[in-house]
């Protein structure tokens, strides 16, 4: 996993957490999907819900819709992290505000294995800024997910579900990569 990655695949990750805090927010669900050239490999996507019994922030549940009851049938956080590591390997990890997801995931990976994710991380909104600068250096940034989706003409799927957001993000990634190459 520490090996540098030479392939042309990336994975897009999105996490939903109990509340929006990178130090205390608990992982509720996680989706990750491989991106190869043109394709978002939805059919092989990893989508897990964790069986935490943590208290849910009423603000957050309104966003992701995962109530405590919905999480009973999930898997343990250890199991989820193992599946995730297995799926991702040493591929670059891409996401929207990926630093948040990175912090959350690192917290869990560190707790279980004592190391942090060595993968390359790609921030989609940074790609977007580079693309904007290329087009017009003076443009004001508006880096909300919805704004990017609209500007890039990317559909939003089941917003605030991990897989839905990951899919839109993956399409943003494909499109921006093409535009920047």
């Amino acid at each position: 996993m520490e090996e540098p990655y030479w392939g042309d695949e990336a994975v897009v990750v999105d996490c939903e957490t109990s509340h929006f805090d990178r130090n205390t927010g608990e992982l509720l669900s996680l989706a990750t999907v491989k991106v190869v050239n043109h394709t978002v490999q939805l059919s092989s996507a990893l989508e897990v819900t964790l069986n935490t019994d943590t208290h849910t922030d009423p603000q957050a549940v309104r966003i992701h819709g995962l109530r405590r009851e919905d999480r009973f049938h999930g898997i343990s956080s250890d199991e989820a992290i193992d599946k995730f590591l297995n799926f991702v390997g040493n591929r670059p990890i891409c996401g929207f505000f990926i630093n948040y997801d990175r912090s959350i995931l690192n917290r869990y990976v560190h707790a279980r294995y004592g190391f942090h994710l060595p993968n390359e991380f790609i921030e989609v909104s940074q790609l977007y800024i580079r693309y904007l600068r290329k087009k017009n250096p003076n443009l004001q940034d508006n880096l909300t997910f919805e704004h990017l989706a609209e500007e890039l003409n990317i559909p939003i799927f089941d917003r605030h579900t991990a897989l839905g957001d990951a899919t839109s993000t993956a399409l943003m990634y494909i499109k921006l990569s093409k535009k920047l190459s």
Binding site: V40, L42, S43, F157, D158, G164, T167, L171, K175, K178
Partner: protein
């Protein structure tokens, strides 16, 4: 995650719930930038693409555009099932596709017979599959004449007395009996006798109960074949004003089919309209019946009655309507010297919603013309009240060029044939679709045989055919190329070139048929067209008519005006269901092939 395309539409609607869920979980998503290649010719397609957003174009090696695909369209199934893609595919706009891997697609094909039939069947059976699914096939009108609909035959000898006949009817609870008569050389012929015949014979005729039945029986039987559609039986009854038909199987009479049995089973009101037409006493009654016709069409379509059945039923009813009005307005001494022709689509029996009237009359001579003229104007007014808009091109019997004596028509046809200008050819083509429907129809027989006997056929026919090849059918339905906002003129692009090409051939080979489907059948028996090509064209025409009718009915229900529905030829392509768009594409492709065939046949390469 939700799949953002409608999997409840054909062809996916053929899948079971669990197969559909399996499909949803096997889908990947692909993104293509504008102009990017998706599949290249010769490549083995890795799977099927279902467009979620955007437009894809299919191109041949020489850059010729074959087709365009839009939202929820599927490509390239052939590239998956056969050895590879015949053409290349690229994104015209930025395009998002769902993608199903080859082996998953094949797995579904193997698991579901209807689903796989959809992909490997020809246009006609695919259309049928869709029609069946749309309608559920429960419609009685599609049922065939079989044991369940037949009444047994009761046969009596020709010398049976009327008293015994009446007894038999009573004991057998039958309203009609078959009469068997020995004729010379030990041959037998059959006739029919009904309760009404008995009543009339005895009460108002010169007969009594000892008269042998052969005196009152009718020996010209009108029959129908076992296995024919019930709606055909209804048509024959309507045409001949009969309440029953004898059913024939392998040259034998096997049973009888009764109107009242049919009526009790029909769920639509077709016969009610027919009866209204027949029983009308005044023109006003007819106007009411004409109004019902329109409702009936929508009703038939909603019940999933087959397109061919709708057209023949509506044609029959329209003609009955005109006949009745004609007979009401024209006294016998006038109408025996005048013949009414319906022309164009009405003549071919392909008009469904009323478009414009194309018609003409033939007078026996100048005297009868003078006599009939004022009555014809009256008749024309009635047609307007029925809802037939006037013909913008003036092809109507109220205009002198379309109202001539027999001699006048002979001369006119010779002028057209000898001087094949575009105008002359247009008029000729309208005329050769003519059907005589009222008045003295024999007047037309003579005239129609005159052009069939012409010797200059192949030259004139090629002139006649020219407009059919003038426009290349619009294969590129979507995308940036259009400037008409996604509207396809289905008449100009599909129906006209097909119908007109067939018409030119019908002229060249002197066919008597006017209906395009009948003409195509005849052209096959005369070995002009291959059965394959003719079948493809028949399927395409039926499809075009269905799509147009649906579109017209829909547009009308939204605008709430029945007046001009029949004139609307524009199909909003992006509003069609993807499956209809795919069928339409196939249909237009057949027309394109036919156009190439016509160009070769008539040597029109240089026009």
């Amino acid at each position: 995650m939700t799949v953002n395309i409608d999997l409840r539409q054909p062809p996916f609607s053929f899948l079971t719930e669990s197969q559909r869920s399996y499909l949803a979980h096997q889908l990947d998503m692909k993104f293509y930038a504008k102009g990017e290649a998706i599949l290249t010719a010769g490549q083995h397609a890795p799977g099927i693409f279902i467009i979620y957003k955007g437009v894809v174009e299919e191109q041949g090696r020489d850059g010729q555009v074959f087709s365009q695909y839009g939202i929820e369209d599927i490509f390239d199934v052939r590239g998956v099932l056969e050895s590879g893609c015949k053409h290349s595919y690229h994104a015209v706009e930025e395009t998002l596709c769902y993608f199903l891997e080859r082996h998953d697609f094949i797995e579904l094909l193997n698991k579901n017979a209807d689903f796989s039939m959809f992909f490997d069947s020809d246009l006609g059976s695919r259309e049928l599959l869709i029609e069946q699914q749309d309608a559920g096939l429960s419609e009685f009108i599609l049922a065939r004449i079989d044991e369940d609909t037949l009444r047994p035959l009761i046969i009596i000898d020709a010398d049976t007395t009327l008293a015994v006949v009446a007894e038999t009817m009573k004991s057998e609870k039958a309203d009609a009996l078959l009469v068997q008569q020995q004729v010379e050389h030990a041959a037998t012929r059959f006739g029919i006798v009904t309760g009404t015949d008995l009543l009339q014979a005895v009460l108002t005729g010169p007969y009594d109960k000892y008269t042998p039945v052969e005196k009152v029986a009718t020996f010209e039987l009108i029959g129908i074949d076992y296995g024919d559609y019930l709606y055909q039986a209804l048509l024959v009854m309507t045409q001949h004003h009969l309440e029953r038909l004898v059913v024939r199987q392998d040259q034998q009479w096997v049973g009888m089919i009764e109107l009242k049995d049919l009526l009790s089973s029909f769920s639509t009101h077709s016969h009610i309209v027919a009866m209204r037409i027949d029983q009308a006493n005044t023109v006003d009654d007819l106007v009411i019946a004409a109004g019902r016709l329109h409702k009936l069409i929508a009703n038939l379509d909603r019940h999933g009655v087959k397109m061919i059945a709708i057209t023949s039923l509506i044609t029959t009813l329209n003609r009955r309507l005109m006949q009745r009005a004609f007979d009401m307005i024209m006294p016998l001494q006038v109408r025996q010297n005048v013949c009414l022709l319906v022309l164009g689509s009405e003549g071919r029996g392909e008009q469904i919603l009323k478009t414009d009237q194309d018609n003409a009359v033939i007078f026996r001579d100048e005297d009868s013309a003078t006599q009939a003229q004022p009555l014809l104007n009256e008749f024309h007014e009635v047609l307007l009240r029925f809802g037939y808009p006037p013909c913008p091109g003036g092809v109507m019997f109220i205009n002198r060029p379309w109202a001539k004596t027999v001699a006048g028509w002979h001369k006119q046809i010779q002028t057209w044939l000898n001087n094949p200008t575009p105008d002359a050819m247009m008029n000729l083509s309208i005329f050769i679709d003519g059907e005589a429907i009222a008045g003295e129809v024999d007047l037309y027989t003579d005239i129609s045989s005159s052009w069939r006997a012409s010797h200059e056929h192949s030259i004139v026919a090629s002139r006649l055919a020219l407009p059919a090849v003038k426009f290349s059918p619009p294969i590129t339905l979507l995308g940036k190329l259009k400037d008409d906002h996604g509207a396809l003129d289905i008449k100009k692009g599909g129906i006209f070139p097909l119908v007109h090409g067939v018409r030119a051939l019908a002229f060249e080979f002197g066919l008597h048929e006017t209906n395009t489907l009948d003409r195509l059948d005849r052209l096959v028996t005369q070995r002009v067209l291959t059965a394959h090509m003719a079948q493809g064209l028949k399927d395409s025409l039926v499809l075009f008519l269905r799509i147009r009718l649906r579109h017209q009915l829909l547009a009308e229900s939204m605008q709430d005006s029945a007046n001009s529905a029949g004139l609307n030829q524009n199909i909003q392509v992006d509003e069609l269901r993807s499956v209809d768009r795919s069928l339409l594409r196939h249909g237009l492709h057949r027309v394109k092939k036919f156009r190439q065939w016509l160009i070769q046949h008539y040597h029109l390469e240089n026009f």
